[in-house]
Symmetry: C2
Subunit: 351 residues, 2 copies
């Protein structure tokens, strides 16, 4: 084991902190790079080594001031990030050195967590027999849980219904589409570029995928072609024009799951509201938000179900792994210009 | 009885027809005034005399081309309108001359309905012991049913929750606010002008009412003052800026009932979508449309309940009655500039 307990004090913890609240796309100057010593765990605590961090669109929201579903990251604080890692020091009988865990590490190489912070942190052991380290940040992690509970609890899919999901090649979108196929739905993805669309159809088994970058009107035309009976469920990760295009095609009693609005996160102008929202009235339809943390009590059940689908081949996943903690500021931007192909992972240390 | 059956052929039926699809506010030239003979009822049919018509914001939507929850009124067709009237000729044993009925009369003085059109028309006898003729177009009619089922089925109010309703002095708003009070909620109205606000609080017993015409920021300030715990249910009749102001104040798990968007109906530019819709995500809240016709099977139960509240004084109502079929084109506009005070009724003939 690298870094036995006695050597903690010799380790240097590289960190990336929020230096300023970004206006629009985060710039290099919105971050500061710091180093710190690694603290010894107190009674009941643990020290973890970060192996990989999950980079997610929601992180952009955490950088903004103001009320949201969790407090914003404070200026000068280590940027919040979930991920996977290993216990390197423990004063807690439930965690042994070498155990693999998922936790809110922050964008840093090490974290020491006190006993009374473990629950809030979300620290949990992970079982690599159920899925790989990166799968634990993807289909078995937050994005997977978001897709699972958003689709199943808010969307309530029935066999034969048509489900559309935007950000189809992203972490949440992959899960949503494959879950909907498992539940017997017709699934149409929306993604950027031919490569993503092909992968979503050929590898993940979606019925079709619309390339929103194919030109003006591509989404409207694609929905018309691939959703001849209309859209019963729309899982929205992107907002903007695409949300309006789908609103124009929903069926009576449709459900729209609002998971995110990546097209709007870096706006410097006000958010674009869905101008077709009165389609909710005409169609007696519902638009509802989902925050995954509300379902924490049921993660273990969902993880067990998903692990079964991974094993029997019905749930595939793709991760886009970028190496190096220091690349965080520019790697994060891949999410917002659609450059990532699959769930974006920042590898901080080799396992 | 005026107009016994044998005299039908001597009656002249004045009608108002849709001449052109309005752009923005309906203009006088969007209507044509016609006369016709009154047809004798065929076997199983009835002829009705219009006493009063219900003028409702939804009528503006019926004038537009395009898919909606009911087909648009065709060019040259008599404008669609519900109302109350009396049977003046009958070849149907279920209806006697002199019976009072509610029906889709259209903007005209008489209508003859065939046996096989009665259901689609919505023809039904009304009992003036339960409520007055005008109440049968208000709390016991479509607006009342809309408010009742929107609040109760979509909103699902719980005692102690805060309910906000826009168009509070209108037909639907009156019902929603008083029902919510009956269910033990805190009720805050939004209406235009001091007179309406005072009436809503003093006569209907709302806890507060915000005058949206009181100046910029009036709604935001009013919500802050009168909804200190946030908004659990918002019944939206107006859309636009007010919807955005309320979205900024909703609580976790809030329900927003989309009943209409009167602020947007006469737009010549695209509808203004709610730019604060991501508040649905942050608050795990729901925005859902309601169309009253879906609840037709349950109207009798709701009417019985409402009639009880009228009797015991807990459900009051106010109608704004304008006389004369020929005033229809300008009377309708009162709805869109907020001039009506109470449910807008067009009296076509004295009872």
């Amino acid at each position: 084991m690298e870094a036995p307990m006695s050597a903690l004090s010799t380790l240097v913890n590289h960190q990336i902190r929020l230096a300023a609240r970004p206006v629009g796309m985060p710039k290099p100057t919105d971050w500061s790079h710091t180093t710190e010593a690694v603290a010894e765990p107190q009674e009941g605590g643990v020290t973890l080594k970060t192996l990989a961090l999950s980079l997610d669109p929601a992180m952009r929201g955490w950088m903004n001031e103001g009320k949201s579903y969790i407090p914003p990251v404070g200026i000068c604080e280590v940027m919040r990030a979930g991920g996977v890692g290993q216990v390197i020091a423990s004063k807690n009988p439930a965690y042994a050195v070498g155990d693999y865990v998922s936790a809110t590490f922050g964008v840093q190489e090490y974290i020491t967590i006190a006993a009374d912070e473990m629950k809030r942190n979300g620290l949990a052991k992970i079982d690599l027999r159920l899925g790989s380290l990166t799968q634990w940040m993807n289909v078995l992690g937050m994005p997977g849980m978001t897709g699972y509970f958003g689709l199943m609890d808010v969307g309530q899919p029935k066999a034969g219904e048509t489900v559309v999901v935007s950000g189809a090649a992203g972490a949440v979108g992959q899960t949503v589409g494959q879950m909907a196929k498992i539940k017997g739905c017709r699934v149409v993805g929306i993604a950027g570029g031919q490569a993503k669309c092909e992968w979503v159809v050929k590898e993940l088994g979606f019925d079709a995928c619309i390339d929103y970058k194919a030109g003006p009107g591509a989404v409207r035309a694609g929905l018309k072609e691939h959703c001849p009976k209309g859209v019963d469920i729309y899982f929205d990760n992107v907002g903007g024009e695409i949300l309006d295009d789908v609103l124009a095609k929903i069926t009576r009693g449709a459900r729209i799951i609002i998971c995110g609005a990546i097209s709007q996160y870096n706006n410097t102008t006000p958010i674009q509201g869905p101008k077709n929202y009165l389609s909710l009235l005409v169609n007696r339809a519902r638009m509802e938000g989902i925050v995954v943390f509300d379902y924490a009590d049921r993660y273990p059940l969902a993880i067990a179900e998903m692990a079964g689908y991974i094993k029997d081949g019905r749930m595939k996943s793709k991760e886009d792994v970028v190496e190096g903690l220091q690349t965080f500021p520019e790697t994060l931007l891949k999410l917002f210009n659609g450059e990532n192909f699959g769930k974006l992972v920042l590898e901080v240390a080799k396992n």
